[in-house]
Symmetry: C2
Subunit: 498 residues, 2 copies
């Protein structure tokens, strides 16, 4: 093989994988936004065949040989191509680590599990989900050894979702949060709650749609490259750095729901749109990890979007969109309403302060499930106990308890912590950003360009060309959970006059 030919093959391989991903994305996007209800079967057939073809393409022995050859000639490769070879080699090994028959069995199990979970959740009956969840846990315990025999099983799983993160890292993180947030929450609960009734007046969807367009403009999304759709659950989907889509879900009696979904997803979108051109159509295009991605979405949503300067800046315009609904309401009142702290049962409805506590419950449970110290049948009891302990709420049933999330049914164990890490990273980014940028001066004018430029320079542009940990270090410095705890304490102490 000549190096030149190998490089051509590498480029072609990655472009083909991009094409398969784009195809699946387009089918998925259509399915959850505009497709009529009764069309799932045919789309499922197409998606599963395309996934099979992509798998066949990438797992071919020639790909293994190509990557081996290029790894040997690493010194002759540009830095970006080196990274491509590293990333692809890692994925290639991952594919071949799990025996094909177990992989197939697992794929069919998660498929089944999802249906079982849906029914169990509907009927609020954990015992229905228990048998299949047991199997899923067993598989993951086994897979963890395939992933990395040297690591503890849960560490190996965590590493699959957020490379470089392990229990030591997370134990320290969550210990800090537990120590600092639980008492803060208790103090807040003794204070008077702000009035947020005006958030739940009637907000016509057409006006909310126009408001979404405005918010995307404020976040600085280029509408030639990013559009907004509607779906049951909001999400961001990236085809490439010139084509990113966000979705939202409008609720007529809750203006904040879609508002903060739009800002959250806009944060994801800015990340994807900010990745450099020279990574497009390669495996380095796309955000580096789920934790870093969440750091961006949550930065825009919470740190900026739920800040007083931001709300003050956009509030006059908001009142134009919703003149009757916000008549007599001040920006300050709106700010307090969207920062109302209220321990609740459901993660996806949690406020900024209590969100991490929801994650902490899941982390504790996953850790014990995978190391075998917690039995699957004991999940509901432990779940309810931890919710009482951290959030002070009584879980009335499994539907609003341990059956609320789809992650385990989808076979994902070790995924949840990234959500909380993202928030913590964001707080450290803010601290560093404030040293170089007049964050609140510019945001207070409704101008997010300086903030976005900083994030673009420190994070977005790199795509997946650095390790997640290095991206975090580049923007945050050494990880220090206390910074996040400080941020929350300062913000909510002010709001609640502690």
């Amino acid at each position: 093989m000549k190096l030149e030919d190998a490089l051509t093959q590498l480029e072609e391989l990655q472009r083909k994988m991009y094409a398969y991903d784009a195809a699946s994305n387009a089918l998925y996007l259509d399915g959850v936004t505009v497709a009529p209800k009764g069309t799932g079967e045919g789309r499922g057939v197409a998606l599963s065949i395309l996934a099979g073809e992509r798998h066949k393409l990438f797992s071919a022995p020639e790909v293994g040989k190509l990557l081996e050859y290029l790894t040997k000639h690493k010194a002759e490769l540009s830095r970006l191509v080196q990274r491509q070879v590293e990333e692809l080699s890692r994925s290639y090994e991952q594919l071949t680590r799990i025996p094909a028959d177990e992989y197939m069995e697992y794929a069919s199990l998660t498929n089944e599990a999802n249906e079982v979970w849906e029914t169990a959740k509907e009927e609020s009956d954990f015992s229905k989900f228990e048998p299949v969840l047991k199997k899923l846990v067993k598989f993951n315990q086994k897979f963890a050894k395939y992933y990395d025999r040297k690591k503890k099983p849960y560490d190996a799983l965590l590493n699959e979702f957020e490379r470089g993160v392990d229990m030591e890292y997370l134990d320290q993180f969550f210990a800090t949060l537990r120590e600092r947030i639980v008492p803060l929450l208790k103090a807040i609960e003794e204070k008077e709650q702000p009035d947020d009734s005006f958030l739940h007046k009637h907000y016509p969807i057409e006006a909310q749609k126009r408001f979404s367009d405005y918010l995307m403009e404020v976040v600085g999304l280029d509408r030639r490259h990013c559009t907004i759709g509607e779906s049951e659950h909001p999400f961001t989907l990236n085809f490439n750095n010139k084509d990113v889509r966000i979705t939202t879900h409008y609720q007529e009696e809750d203006v904040a729901s879609s508002m903060y979904s739009v800002i959250h997803e806009s944060g994801h979108a800015r990340y994807e749109l900010g990745i450099r051109d020279d990574m497009q159509y390669t495996c380095l295009a796309g955000g580096v990890s789920m934790g870093v991605h969440e750091s961006q979405s949550r930065f825009y949503e919470n740190i900026i979007g739920r800040s007083l300067p931001f709300i003050q800046a956009i509030f006059p315009k908001m009142q134009e969109f919703f003149p009757e609904q916000l008549n007599g309401v001040t920006a300050e009142q709106f700010y307090r309403a969207v920062n109302k702290v209220q321990p609740s049962l459901v993660r996806i409805e949690a406020d900024e302060l209590t969100y991490s506590l929801h994650i902490m419950v899941r982390y504790e449970i996953e850790k014990q499930l995978i190391d075998g110290s917690l039995k699957v049948q004991d999940i509901p009891e432990t779940w309810n106990k931890l919710y009482k302990e951290y959030l002070g709420v009584e879980v009335p049933d499994d539907k609003h308890g341990c059956l609320q999330d789809s992650h385990w049914a989808g076979g994902s164990f070790g995924y949840f912590p990234s959500y909380a890490l993202g928030s913590a990273y964001g707080a450290q980014m803010l601290k560093n950003m404030e040293k170089e940028v007049d964050v609140w001066g510019t945001v207070g004018k409704g101008d997010l360009s300086a903030v976005s430029a900083w994030l673009g320079e420190k994070i977005h542009q790199y795509g997946s060309s650095m390790e997640p940990a290095d991206v975090v270090k580049n923007a945050c410095g050494e990880f220090d959970p206390a910074v996040y705890a400080d941020y929350l304490t300062e913000k909510f102490s002010k709001i609640y006059n502690l």
Copy 2:
């Protein structure tokens, strides 16, 4: 090879091709409906790679061997599988008939031609398009020989679009139309025109959207399997018989434009949704030919949608959607307005009567271009002369003349006649249908189920499992252009009191 294995391979091959088609469809649909403007490049990359992969899949020598094997064992195959093997063998041969280098050169030429045509049309300057059109004509003259050396070149091209149709067939068809429609048109032009000004009042798009939903309901489209979107040009796209999409284009000052687009595309959609389940995910899924497809869309649009009983049935409801705009208008007046005959310059804006004359001009020109008796540089002169002769209009410039359609720039010669054939087939279907079904009694009640059931039984269910000519025969009997001419004469003589 065992027959059983061969059949499995055949099924897998077709399912894979379905998956590639679904992927390209999803990307295309997204591109022309919801994708932001600046995203074409990445979608183009994906589409071209997927087309390449599909081509590689299907043109592999093993596919040739498989089809050869199955052709040998034809007697042992079910009728549907026999048809699959026939269809696939034909496509496989077609792929290999054109030498790969010429195919690539042609693909790149049409790509270039499309851009050149756009500019030429914008600047209304045929001389800009002339050089590339010359090349396109030459290629098609050569390709015609690859397609079928025994046929006259234009016959070979026609056969690619509408199998079984040739110049002899079309000459007779168009001669009848020329003989019958041109004088009819002249007679109409001496009559008073109906008032259609109310069609061009202000029709808010939101109300038009609700009206579209109503029209789809009237046509009997199951909305769990068919949805409507918006695009620059209306079209129908089929994933499978459970998933079909239509689009329309709303014009605020023209209620009939979207109304008849929706009915037209609904006709295409009914065809695709009516194809039998046992053809899904095979090459037999999908309408059999463009001519038969147009027969369905035009049947619903013109024969039903522009009939007096239909308009009388839906008019009270229409007045609810547009109370001010249609205040004081009667169903009869509306009927006359949407059947106003007005010779015009642009094919896609033509009325039911003059539409075929636009096609006739193109047919005459293509015929002479391909047999070499008309030079490319002489197209504008001939075009303008024929428009004067058939339609009685003066063509002021190339933009509204021979540069109006994209077909030639896209490399399609022999495509146009199918449009006119579809209308003619429809008239014969009506005649046969009337013998078995109380067409106007049911349509007059706004009930299209009997009409649709007849079309479903005679045409839709078969998908591509019969030859186009056999489908036509099944629904129309022997083709007789006089039936279409009679239909037009009767309809428009009444409207214009001839």
